[in-house]
């Protein structure tokens, strides 16, 4: 349908119809975090297993719209096997891609999360390839209501990493 091709790219529909890394992992060794969008009732459950400094496995459960589900699927495929630093970089890059729209509107938040966000924006704009298949979700920023759908699983993953590193620093 004209006008929607930016939102519903073929890659997105493919990941929605055939989600990757769908399911659950036993806790422990996995760490489990829920993400919840109270506006629409979408929920995502992220299971991760971290060994050393590597995210060795990830599973996604929950339910939601095509954007939240495909974003979670794309995320799972792109972070599996990466080091935690690489995963954190990717989370930052993805979230800045989702906020490019807001930054350009100049809503006064530019000095909020800091110049770092701007740097990453520039990196993304200069090299859209950096995100690989994830760049398919870039069209979401044209539909501001759906940004929350796209970032739901990413926020859950970030929370999982934060909890794991907090747990690790407590036990060391």
């Amino acid at each position: 349908m004209p006008g929607l091709e930016d939102l519903y790219r073929e890659i997105i529909l493919d990941h929605y119809r055939s989600p990757r890394n769908r399911g659950e992992l036993p806790v422990p060794p996995a760490h489990r975090v829920e993400g919840f969008n109270p506006l629409c009732g979408d929920e995502v459950v992220v299971y991760v297993i971290v060994e050393g400094d590597t995210l060795v496995d990830i599973r996604i459960a929950g339910q939601g719209c095509s954007i939240s589900q495909s974003s979670a699927s794309l995320m799972s495929a792109s972070v599996k096997g990466k080091t935690l630093d690489e995963v954190r970089d990717l989370i930052r890059t993805f979230k800045s891609m989702m906020s490019i729209h807001e930054t350009k509107l100049g809503d006064g938040e530019a000095s909020g999360p800091g110049a770092e966000v701007f740097d990453v924006d520039d990196a993304v704009l200069a090299d859209p390839e950096a995100l690989g298949e994830l760049a398919a979700l870039q069209g979401v920023v044209k539909f501001p209501v759906r940004i929350k759908c796209a970032t739901l699983s990413w926020n859950a993953l970030a929370q999982a990493l934060d909890e794991l590193s907090a747990g690790a620093s407590r036990s060391s």
């Binding site: 349908m1 004209p2 006008g3 929607l4 939102l7 519903y8 529909l13 929605y16 119809r17 506006l39 629409c40 009732g41 979408d42 929920e43 339910q63 939601g64 719209c65 095509s66 954007i67 539909f143 759906r146 759908c149």
Partner: protein, 417 residues
């Protein structure tokens, strides 16, 4: 597609041309507005009345002795009388209270009547069909006071399950029931519940936010002690709602919010409240909005409740038939399958397409529907879903709107395969 006779038969009683917003072109075509259960659009008559007030007689009410202040006062109180007559209030001068919206009206009942009359262990009876506006205030009060909450369930035919009504109302202090569901369109047997509740000695609150805009409302035959509704779902402006209550109950209730206008006297050591209805109207009220709701009820009255109901019933039947014929088992309607005790609020699921995706594709076709939990999470759980898509009809909708909805659903089917 509707044939010519169907289109003539279903000519809307409120011509779209009288609603400026409905003339708006969105994505290259005239807007198809199917979200009136959330908020309705305004006829020129309502907009003109509010503009005229601002341009000719704006001043604060209940204060000035000068000409325009008297005029503002007169127009504000005339609105109260008109709204009261619209719902058959026996004493509108004292019993109609202007609030911010239906939600505030229901909170007023909970915090004023509820706090004065409910103690630990007292029972409040609600239904699984309620909007959060008629749930959360009672949940808050239950937490504060240690109340017991009981629930009237929803059966598989999307009706309130009244099989055990006598037992459920036994010993209950207050019953809160919606007169029409904002999710599944069910018109509840309110009067029957009110009779049982009164026989058990309970006070009965009606959430009329959905029913008052669409159905002839007479507080006497409904049998409620309070009813709450909002102007913006009945062609009026946002920012004003109504609480009607029986005078003897209102007289005995303490004020809800404090401030100017609601007092008779204020001293260092206390205050005495004003008389009805101003006792419950603290601060400068929504004056232009009152004039707006006055114009809205005049507009609806001119059409007539009978014409409104017969148009909406016929258009709902057309919508239910169209969706069923075109999509068969691919489309599931959450709500009664016929127009028997059912209004034009149509919640549905199409295949396994998420309601947000469905609403997004419909938006691309200029069709405005709602997707989500519709502020009725207990009912969504009962239906076994987290969200639905919802199309809702009003006096200005016609068969072309329903056809556009069906075309948009078909387009979503193509996109998501």
């Amino acid at each position: 597609m509707a044939d010519l006779t169907t289109m003539q038969r279903l000519e809307p009683p409120a011509p779209k041309a009288e609603f400026p917003l409905l003339g708006r072109i969105v994505r290259g075509r005239p807007i198809v507005y199917l979200d009136s259960a959330s908020s309705s659009q305004h006829p020129r008559a309502v907009l003109d009345a509010m503009e005229d007030y601002y341009e000719t007689s704006h001043a604060n009410v209940h204060r000035g002795v000068y000409a325009i202040a008297e005029e503002a006062d007169r127009r504000f109180e005339a609105a109260r009388m008109a709204v009261g007559r619209f719902i058959g209030a026996p004493d509108p001068e004292h019993e109609v209270i202007f609030t911010k919206n239906a939600t505030e009206a229901l909170n007023l009942v909970a915090w004023s009547w509820g706090r004065a009359n409910l103690r630990a262990g007292d029972v409040v009876l609600l239904t699984d069909m309620e909007h959060h506006a008629n749930l959360v205030p009672w949940l808050m009060l239950a937490e504060e006071r240690g109340l017991e909450l009981r629930w009237i369930g929803v059966d598989d035919a999307y009706r309130l399950d009244l099989a055990h009504l006598e037992r459920l109302v036994d010993g209950v202090k207050l019953v809160g029931v919606t007169a029409m569901s904002n999710v599944i369109g069910t018109i509840t047997p309110f009067a029957q519940i009110a009779r049982a509740a009164h026989a058990a000695g309970a006070v009965v609150v009606a959430d009329g936010a959905q029913s008052v805009p669409h159905l002839r409302t007479d507080v006497g035959s409904l049998g409620c002690d309070f009813i709450a509704f909002s102007a913006h779902k009945m062609l009026g402006p946002t920012g004003i709602g109504v609480l009607w209550g029986r005078r003897e109950l209102l007289e005995a209730m303490p004020p809800f919010m404090g401030g100017g206008g609601m007092i008779r006297d204020v001293r260092h050591d206390g205050f005495s409240p004003n008389e009805l209805p101003w006792k419950f109207e603290a601060g400068t009220p929504p004056i232009a909005e009152a004039i707006g709701i006055h114009a809205a009820v005049d507009y609806l009255s001119k059409i007539g409740a009978e014409a409104i109901e017969s148009h909406e019933t016929a258009l709902t039947a057309y919508a239910l038939d169209t969706l069923t014929e075109r999509f068969g088992d691919d489309l599931r309607i959450f709500g009664p399958p016929t127009t028997d005790s059912r209004a034009g609020v149509i919640s549905f699921a199409f295949r396994d397409i998420h309601p947000h995706d469905l609403a997004q594709v419909l938006d691309q076709a200029g069709v405005c529907v709602r997707a989500g939990h519709h502020c009725a999470k207990p009912l969504m759980r009962r239906l076994g879903v987290t969200a639905t898509a919802r199309a809702s009809l009003y006096v200005y909708n016609d068969v072309s709107d329903v056809d556009a909805l069906a075309d948009g659903i078909a387009a979503a089917g193509t996109l998501f395969g």
